[in-house]
């Protein structure tokens, strides 16, 4: 039996010959809480609290969870835009957090990011041409003419007029700006792109266009992508596998088709039930989650989802269930799933 890509160091990697492109192991990021003069000094936000997963070459992994679950922080840690509290990110079997400044700069050629807010992700005082040429200048790629040609090619690739090079970001719509953001991420031909809610702030009509663009590009360049989103519907179409995060942990990880058909974690079930069905007559069971997300500063005892779980049992308070393999390609962190 091929165990495929195990999510963490605890699972054994059976029969998987290839080294994954990206391997995240027990990644943690705690932010100190600044309080008043006499606040307890050791209080920390557990933004990412032990995340592990692997990413195959050419794979798109959807990373889903509600606001504040640590999905964006995870993305930024992978690219080492933040330093972790502990844990490991191995990119092509190299520990990213151990790279020195020079090596890090080389690694950055291989991994790029696309942001959520296209109005904040472009420098308002630089032309589109300057913004897209910048990665090539930083990494000393090509002559001036070659770089200019490449920039025009990138603009065409993302469906924009190459003559846009002399214009400024404010002259473009949100969807167009997001395409420019995609072009910037592609400029260095990276192996990995972290797309941090790339369509969440776009109009619904534009969302599909940008998702299709990302899919086309992924297909053409054989990119690996971590696609972060806050609802399962968004990533259903594009992801090969999906990881669901809750309060800094992955609670379920499975092949996309499997996860949508047979969710094992009650939180995933609730998220799936929240997806609107475009048929008013279709009867369905809605799962209303009670209460708010517990504070990531004062983590609850036992299962993190206990306070909101519709299926909670007294046993759930005994331990915080680890992410374990339930089926060959399906991991979940719930005692009910075992």
């Amino acid at each position: 039996m091929n165990a495929g890509i195990p999510p963490g160091p605890d699972s054994t990697r059976i029969g998987s010959a290839e080294i994954p492109l990206l391997s995240v192991k027990n990644l943690k990021k705690y932010f100190p809480v600044r309080e008043g003069l006499f606040g307890r000094p050791d209080r920390r936000v557990h933004a990412v609290d032990g995340v592990s997963f692997d990413l195959r070459s050419g794979e798109i992994l959807g990373l889903v969870g509600e606001s504040g679950c640590g999905k964006s922080t995870t993305g930024r840690l992978i690219l080492r835009l933040l330093e972790p509290t502990s844990g490991e990110v191995r990119f092509m079997n190299e520990n990213v957090f151990e790279a020195d400044a020079r090596r890090m700069r080389e690694l950055r050629r291989e991994m790029q990011i696309i942001f959520q807010d296209p109005y904040a992700s472009l420098n308002p005082r630089r032309t589109i041409g300057a913004t897209l040429e910048e990665p090539l200048i930083i990494h000393r790629i090509g002559t001036k003419e070659e770089r200019r040609a490449r920039v025009r090619g990138l603009l065409e690739k993302v469906g924009l007029d190459p003559d846009a090079v002399n214009r400024y970001p404010h002259e473009f719509s949100g969807g167009q700006r997001q395409r420019i953001g995609v072009a910037r991420a592609l400029a260095l031909n990276p192996k990995l792109i972290v797309a941090d809610e790339p369509v969440s702030s776009l109009d619904v009509s534009i969302q599909a266009q940008v998702i299709n663009l990302l899919e086309d590009i992924q297909d053409e360049y054989r990119l690996s992508m971590i696609f972060i989103a806050h609802d399962l519907n968004m990533v259903r179409h594009i992801s090969d596998r999906v990881a669901v995060m809750y309060l800094g942990r992955i609670v379920e990880l499975a092949e996309a088709s499997d996860l949508y058909r047979h969710p094992l974690h009650p939180y995933t079930e609730a998220l799936l039930a929240a997806i609107p069905i475009p048929d008013p007559k279709a009867g369905r069971r809605r799962i209303i989650l009670e209460g708010d997300l517990p504070s990531p500063v004062d983590l609850p005892q036992g299962c993190r989802f206990y306070s909101r779980c519709p299926k909670r049992l007294p046993d759930c308070l005994k331990e915080d269930p680890p992410l374990v393999q339930i089926q060959p390609l399906h991991w979940a962190a719930c005692i009910l799933a075992r």
Binding site: R76, L81, R108, D117, S121, I138, H170, R184
Partner: protein, 284 residues
Amino acid sequence: MAIRPRTAFERFWGRFKSNGPAVAGGFIVLSVFVIALLAPILSLYDPAYIDVGKILAAPNSDHLLGTDELGRDVFSRMIWGSRISLLVGFVAVGIAILIGILIGAVASYYGGWIDDVLMQFVDIMLSIPTFFLILAVIAIVEPSIWNIMIVIGVTSWMGVARLVRGQFLALKEKDFVTAARALGANDLRMIFLHLLPNALSPVYVSAVLGVAGAILIESSLSFLGLGVQPPTPSWGSIITAGKDTIEIAWWLTLFPGLAILITVLGYNLLGEGLQDALNPRLKG
């Protein structure tokens, strides 16, 4: 494209030109500039020419603003004095802005203990009464125009440092700055291409207001005899000479005093106007 969105500058200009006092300030600032520029043409007399036959002459058709205690033409001296005021104002502010940007940028970009140390230094500088510090320094070094510009500049950069630091701290969280980091941009590229260009608009305001402050300090120093040294004419030093004869020769204090008042007012109005036009939401 049928309708081009207005550029940031067009929106700024639209707000600025509908602000009466700001336009008036701009007009004053421009006028003083032209006067200083055309000093050799506008002044009818050599500002240093002593005419003992016409000591303390009241304003008349030969001497529009009268003469001083040595018979020198006050109008001509004031016109040449405007050059001193502007020169000191701009060079001093230029020095202050360079120091302020450097310290503010380094403090906020590197953060940590570097930030702590530099901002403590800013607080210490701010706690020293600037004018007395300048007086003390001028008492030690020779009171030349260059020393005055340097001393004013070196004692008035703290506001700019704080402004730039605040701007940088906000900008560092922006995605386009993170994007540049993700691309592997080095510190110089980050600071000079991504952070600084987006941090400058409040610095412009601070600079314009700073020119007014520097002109006032220069006038005060010259009034105290610690500024620009004779025979170079300066508005402050004309007033000094006039204070002894204020009862018989009012024009020696009134006209240079008005020149200082109007010029400083002009820079202040322009600065406030820029502030409102650049940050319309802050307008009180």
